[in-house]
């Protein structure tokens, strides 16, 4: 251990690559996991003052794995509230109906449309958040409201599912939300799903009593369990953020292992002589392995010691951008996560040891006699395991690509990613073989000049060294082409698909609101439907379906996919009421799974909104409405999705390119530094520094070109294979879109880093020799 420490201290340059890779890797992982661990579900603030909450019963999980709840009917809720209020220790049982309301200022709807859907509440429920009036009086009649901000007596414009209204402010609250008289709230909301209990004494005792009182009519939540009441929209945002963070952790660790492995391999090759000497004076192969592990452990501990604080400090700085990008909910704050930091530190050590593994094993086989040989000569470019693994990787990757069309759609994308990784790693392993012919080809025009000759011969004899530089470039360019190509191709074809589904040329679409109110729709010529949902119970299982309330219907009309449902449907509406209706028709072009008469939907879902109106005449003016072309309307969704995908792409590519830069720079720094003698000889032979620089830059560019070419080719093959399988499946030609600009940029960054990294040691050597 002592020996390892001295080794590391003495030749820190050789370990710098490992150190930086581990420090950055641990930093990325520590930051990501801290953010991820900080993003835990929370009790919504407006329920935080309520120790015991009763939720309406779940009817099972939906396809996304979230529980699906039904509402209590007004009568059920009233009965339950009465039962709960009578329990000992309960000071009040308060039902919490929520409804859509949005403030309109200067004719423009304000605030976030999505959160506005549940901004309206009954006045009595203000107590659930511990909110009080700071001025004025509670709302008592329709058209009266209490909220934070405006002074009592003022009038505000609002928008509800019915349309625009002007309300009188009766009181000012010290918490967010619009509070109206309880009866008004009940009329505007679609059923009650939550009853809060304020208690005196022990909350857990009350919760237990409530549990037996409620039985199967609901779920009683107390303490930390109340966190489950986080709105699904917020949970979804956290989920999206978690996807990015998980990808960052995975990529960060994978690339860190890669960089550490290539750094260790190179430094082991350069230290062959030293290791031979150790073997000569009596180090067993096991001791050599242990020494290299110990060295790497020292570097990993140092790297971790830098990386952990780096990640811990960076995490809070990343929170605001994540919130802005819609990847963490508003109000997200980073908390200290010692477990995440400790885990990242440990991961750094595991990554480092995994990276040094092959290099250590190889070094342990160095014969003692190598102490007497000069290390600079590369014996063989390819070792047998390298051949075997390389060919296996290519073969397995190709087999996966060929088998692609036979797989299920779900398996295809992961199979393609797997194939790409196998092919890229295979190509990286076989790169030394491919480098010789590529070098001959590319240096052909310059074969007569001295520089051309030196670059050519240098790269041909140092194929392995060139391959170490080309490998990270290969990986990055490969993944860049693959990712950008996939994303662009999918968004291009998806856009075309959805636009085809929108028949009318012009659409009256929501503008700053979650959907169109009845009043806004009333003025528009054209087709529209009310968007709602219903729970359908068939043979004991309950499923939630989208419902469209349309004109000119009697009974239930089903879309084609639901044609198998029974002819009489048991439906439960958002307001909690149940009914059984006859199925009268099955339709192909239904906008939702189930079609119901509009007034039926309106009656059972007072909060239902209209997604858009397909216009067949000039649109009338209305608040929160704008007219768009069908294409632009569809594009809104695509852009929203595309924006997040672009963020994902940008972050992952930046991470990938960053690490490549590191790997390339490190390899070249080490390699060029080790070639000082060679370059001194070149200078003695009459070459100037510019000559040496030309040689190092030429070689670096050659390596980058090789990596780019190989990576790009592999990725292109993967994309073509993926396109073929998708085309076969949907029976329609797809245009392959590859954003060349982005990929060329990636390659150029690699080239720039490579030239600089190869040149710096040369210039430093010259500065030193003067």
């Amino acid at each position: 251990m002592r020996l390892a420490w001295d080794m590391v201290r003495h030749r820190f340059a050789a370990f710098a690559g490992t150190f930086v890779a581990i420090a950055l890797g641990v930093g990325v992982v520590a930051g990501s996991t801290t953010l991820w661990a900080s993003s835990q579900p929370e009790t919504p603030q407006r329920l935080s003052a309520t120790p015991v909450l009763v939720h309406s019963p779940s009817v099972g999980d939906n396809d996304d794995g979230y529980p699906e709840y039904r509402s209590w009917t007004i009568a059920e809720a009233a009965a339950l509230t009465g039962r709960l209020a009578a329990l000992p220790g309960v000071t009040a049982a308060i039902p919490d109906p929520a409804f859509y309301v949005q403030r309109v200022v200067g004719g423009r709807p304000t605030g976030d449309p999505e959160t506005a859907l549940t901004e309206g509440h009954a006045w009595s429920s203000a107590a659930l958040g511990g909110y009080r009036l700071s001025a004025g009086a509670a709302p008592a009649r329709p058209g009266e409201v209490a909220l934070a901000g405006p002074a009592p007596g003022s009038r505000i414009d609002v928008l509800t599912a019915r349309g625009p209204a002007t309300w009188t402010v009766t009181g000012t609250t010290d918490g967010p939300g619009f509070y109206v008289a309880d009866a008004t709230a009940a009329a505007l909301s679609a059923g009650v799903r939550l009853i809060g209990l304020t208690v005196s004494g022990d909350a857990e005792a009350v919760a237990a009593a409530a549990r037996s009182a409620v039985g199967t009519d609901g779920t009683v939540l107390s303490g930390a369990a109340r966190d489950r009441l986080e709105p699904e929209s917020v949970t979804r945002i956290r989920w999206l953020g978690a996807q990015l963070l998980i990808a960052m952790v995975a990529l960060g660790s994978f690339v860190a292992i890669f960089v550490v492995a290539s750094t260790c391999a190179l430094s082991a090759a350069q230290r062959r002589r030293e290791i031979g000497l150790l073997r000569a004076v009596g180090a067993t192969p096991g001791q050599v392995i242990r020494m290299m592990y110990a060295e790497t452990l020292v570097v990993a501990v140092l790297g971790g010691a830098v990386g952990v604080p780096l990640g811990a400090l960076a995490a809070p700085l990343l929170a605001p951008p994540l919130v802005a990008a819609g990847l963490e909910p508003a109000g997200f704050a980073v908390t200290g996560q010692p477990a995440a930091l400790a885990g990242s530190f440990a991961l750094g050590i595991v990554v480092a040891l995994a990276g040094v593994w092959t290099a250590a094993r190889r070094s342990s086989r160095v014969p003692a006699l190598d102490a007497l040989r000069d290390a600079a000569v590369e014996h063989r470019a390819m070792t047998r395991p390298r051949w075997i693994l390389g060919v296996l990787g290519i073969a397995a990757g190709a087999a996966l690509l060929i088998a692609l069309p036979t797989m299920s759609t779900d398996a295809q994308s992961s199979a393609m990613m797997g194939a790409a990784m196998l092919l890229l790693v295979g190509a990286a392993l076989l790169a030394p073989v491919l480098i010789a012919p590529l070098v001959r080809l590319t240096t052909w025009p310059w074969r007569r000049g001295a520089t051309g000759m030196l670059v050519r011969e240098g790269t041909l004899t140092g194929a392995r060294r060139v391959a170490s530089t080309a490998a990270p470039v290969l990986l990055t360019v490969g993944f860049a082409v693959l990712l950008t190509g996939t994303v662009s191709t999918i968004s291009q074809s998806a856009g075309a698909d959805e636009a085809a589904d929108v028949p009318a040329a012009l659409v009256a679409a929501p503008d700053g609101v979650p959907g169109l109110s009845d009043a806004a729709v009333a003025g528009q010529p054209g087709d529209s439907y009310l968007s709602s949902h219903a729970l359908v119970t068939v043979g004991g299982t309950t499923t939630r379906y989208g419902v469209a309330g349309t004109d000119g219907l009697t009974g239930v009309v089903l879309s084609r996919e639901l044609a198998d449902l029974p002819r009489r449907l048991d439906l439960r509406f958002p307001d909690g009421t149940t009914t059984t209706l006859p199925v009268t028709a099955v339709r192909d072009d239904a906008p939702e799974a189930i079609l119901l008469p509009r007034d039926l939907v309106r009656r059972h879902d007072p909060g239902a909104l209209t997604p858009a109106v397909l216009l067949d005449g000039p649109a009338g003016p209305a608040t929160g409405l704008r007219v768009l072309t069908a294409r632009a309307y569809v594009q809104i969704d695509i852009d929203e999705e595309g924006e997040i995908v672009q963020i994902f792409l940008a972050v992952l590519l930046a991470l990938g390119v960053g690490y490549t830069g590191l790997a390339v720079a490190n390899t070249l720094l080490m390699a060029t530094a080790a070639r000082r003698e060679e370059f001194r000889a070149l200078r003695l032979a009459g070459g100037g520094t510019s000559h040496v620089l030309r040689v190092t830059s030429g070689e670096a560019l050659l390596a980058v070109a090789t990596g780019t070419l190989l990576g790009g080719t592999v990725a292109l093959f993967c994309l073509l294979a993926a396109r073929r399988s998708i085309e076969e499946e949907i029976g329609q030609a797809i245009e392959l879109v590859i954003p060349w600009g982005q990929n060329v940029a990636v390659a150029l960054v690699c080239a720039l880093v490579a030239v600089v990294a190869a040149g710096v040691p040369v210039l430093r050597a010259r500065a030193g020799s003067r």
């Binding site: 002592r2 020996l3 001295d6 080794m7 201290r9 003495h10 030749r11 002589r273 030293e274 000497l277 150790l278 073997r279 000569a280 004076v281 009596g282 180090a283 067993t284 192969p285 096991g286 001791q287 014969p367 003692a368 006699l369 102490a371 007497l372």
Partner: protein, 248 residues
């Protein structure tokens, strides 16, 4: 010549070393028999390419002969695993090369302690310092190899080779890269080790003056022992024998 198996520090029997195969095969050692008596100083001489280094590597267990048997301190090296061979080398063999004997990252002191540490032994207090003092470098204990002269580096290497009190110390042209004064110092050290500590030393050299320090000179030619010179009278005599060998 009487052969005593007991009390032989190194014994080579019909040792051959052939590099490569087929047409390009080079016979570096051709069925060599050599016995090195304990507490003696043996010099190995011969023209370039005669197999001196190969002989030394095979005798020291750094290289495996293609035929014959090598024993060190009565232990046969034939059939030993790499690990066992390493341990034997660590315990019974010391080694000094022409150059690059020291680990650049370690101080003189640490380099000397290395074989002990590799054997899993904590050097006793003063043990390493004493060794350095013996080669006259007590004041350079904390210096790195790059801060030492070539002669000093060789002396550290000798201290490193002797610290385990090995059965044999092998040295391959230890003075090859040194000037006369430094050479003399190194040779004096080796001679002292033999005389004072009954150390067995085998040294390859090109220099008759260096060989004159030995008790016995083996002259190699074409992979065979061509001549043996016991108790050489001095450098001139060795030079004459060498010249005669090269003439043949």
């Amino acid at each position: 010549m009487t052969i005593t198996t007991i009390g032989t520090a190194v014994r080579l029997r019909a040792v051959s070393r052939i590099y490569g195969t087929g047409e390009s095969a080079v016979t570096a050692l051709d069925a060599v028999d050599v016995d090195i008596a304990p507490a003696t100083f043996t010099a190995v001489m011969g023209p370039s390419g005669s197999g001196k280094s190969t002989l030394l590597h095979c005798a020291a267990g750094l290289d495996r002969p293609t035929g014959g048997e090598v024993s060190i301190d009565g232990v046969s090296l034939t059939g030993l695993s790499e690990r066992a061979l390493t341990k034997l080398r660590r315990a019974r063999v010391g080694f000094v090369f022409q150059a690059f004997n020291l680990i650049p990252a370690l101080s003189a002191e640490q380099n000397v302690a290395l074989p002990l540490r590799l054997a899993g032994r904590r050097p006793a207090a003063g043990e390493v310092r004493e060794m350095l003092a013996e080669v006259g470098l007590a004041d350079r204990a904390r210096h790195r190899p790059s801060e030492l002269s070539g002669g000093q580096q060789q002396r550290v290497a000798i201290a490193r080779a002797l610290v385990t009190r090995p059965a044999v110390l092998f040295a391959d042209e230890p003075t090859g890269a040194l000037d006369t004064t430094a050479s003399r110092e190194v040779l004096r050290l080796l001679r002292t080790a033999v005389d004072r500590h009954a150390q067995t030393v085998v040294m390859v050299t090109h220099d008759p003056y260096a060989a004159a320090h030995a008790d016995r000179v083996l002259l190699l030619a074409d992979g065979r022992v061509a001549d043996v010179l016991d108790h050489p009278a001095g450098a001139p005599e060795i030079a004459v024998r060498m010249a005669r060998l090269e003439e043949r």
